[in-house]
Symmetry: C3
Subunit: 157 residues, 3 copies
């Protein structure tokens, strides 16, 4: 472990937080792969007139998941798929195989990535970094209907 060489913190902003805005996002995936949800989340926050607070995403499934990853070079997403396939291969002798060879690897991949994400919102903007996008990862081979709960908690106006 290294201790911080240099570490600075901006002045804090303080505000009264009072509003909850919730919605259910339905995504039809086209089988294994990444779906970028960033624009839809930005639209949700704009519709909610969100100013300051935090955005929660929660996916209601155990064979699809969420991640925040690079939005620039599409080979990153290909490599992430390869990495997950290596960490949870189909031919690993899983006991749970009644739903097809891609099902148990999908559960493992979901466990290793995220089911819920929590992203701060400041000055009406989601605080994603310049190279970050929010993705839904479909881990099943076939297309699925997926539900993601969107929730903003904070100040609107």
């Amino acid at each position: 472990m290294s201790t911080p060489k240099s570490l600075s913190r901006s002045p804090s902003s303080t505000i009264c937080a009072t509003t909850l805005v919730s919605s259910l996002l339905t995504v039809q995936t086209s089988g294994r792969g990444f779906t970028d949800l960033s624009a839809e989340i930005a639209k949700f926050l704009k519709d909610a007139r969100a100013k300051e607070g935090a955005m929660t995403l929660f996916i209601r499934h155990t064979s699809a998941s969420l991640t925040i990853q690079e939005n620039a070079d599409p080979t990153v997403l290909e490599d992430l798929t390869t990495a997950l396939d290596r960490l949870a291969p189909e031919d690993a002798g899983w006991r749970h195989d009644t739903e097809g060879p891609d099902d148990m690897p999908a559960h493992v991949k979901t466990m290793l990535t995220a089911t819920s994400l929590h992203i701060p919102v400041l000055k009406s903007e989601l605080m994603l970094g310049a190279w970050q996008a929010v993705y839904l990862i479909e881990h099943r081979a076939r297309p699925h209907h997926r539900e993601v709960v969107l929730q903003f908690a904070g100040v609107t106006g």
Copy 2:
């Protein structure tokens, strides 16, 4: 990456969020394995009269963790245990071995899964999907006393 083929969002609900309810859940595990916390969380939310908001779970340990996984076929949990054992085997030549061969793998497994979860609550219901349960995963071989902070933030009544 694929772009959404079809994507729909329900109308948003907006509400004033004002209450925090916090509690410490103590779980005595019986050694390596999964403990389903879903019923206890539902009871906590009912006792809190939670209506709309979000539920946070935070585990205060580094050799046990949280995950949301399938609640139907118990072989899924067996396979998840196998997957974690393969990703962090006991005989991998870890340097940290003073607390036994199962300790360092337990830290790795904790890092790869979740320490905190954030789950929306709508219409007095935790928004888990039909096949989702919230599990504490004990990664140590022996039974342990584990603490999980439960916190609801939102509207009660």
Copy 3:
């Protein structure tokens, strides 16, 4: 799966939650490794006069991430680095290699750990366990300038 052998929950505390305090923490890393953010977070909460609520951390990058891990034996952090290197080795034939051999493994390691953390605050204290510290993990070989959004939501005074 095992069902809880013994499970107890403390009485709940209920409180009105109204304040949001947000800040941007800038961390200059010295290359691959762990940076302990716990003291800085405690200072942020003290400056904010945080009493009860929850602390969110969000890292604005896809080749550095967050984790909560053991704060006692430094060999744990060395072994965690080894574990991540094994799960995402540099010589795995990644397609995305324009930013150097350490870049794609850094994205995979970020996906497998956390981008956001949510930690309850009770009685003015972050509810970390005795052996827990909050770490930023730099996955790139060279030093980087990293940004972490800190946000407290709850009661101050």
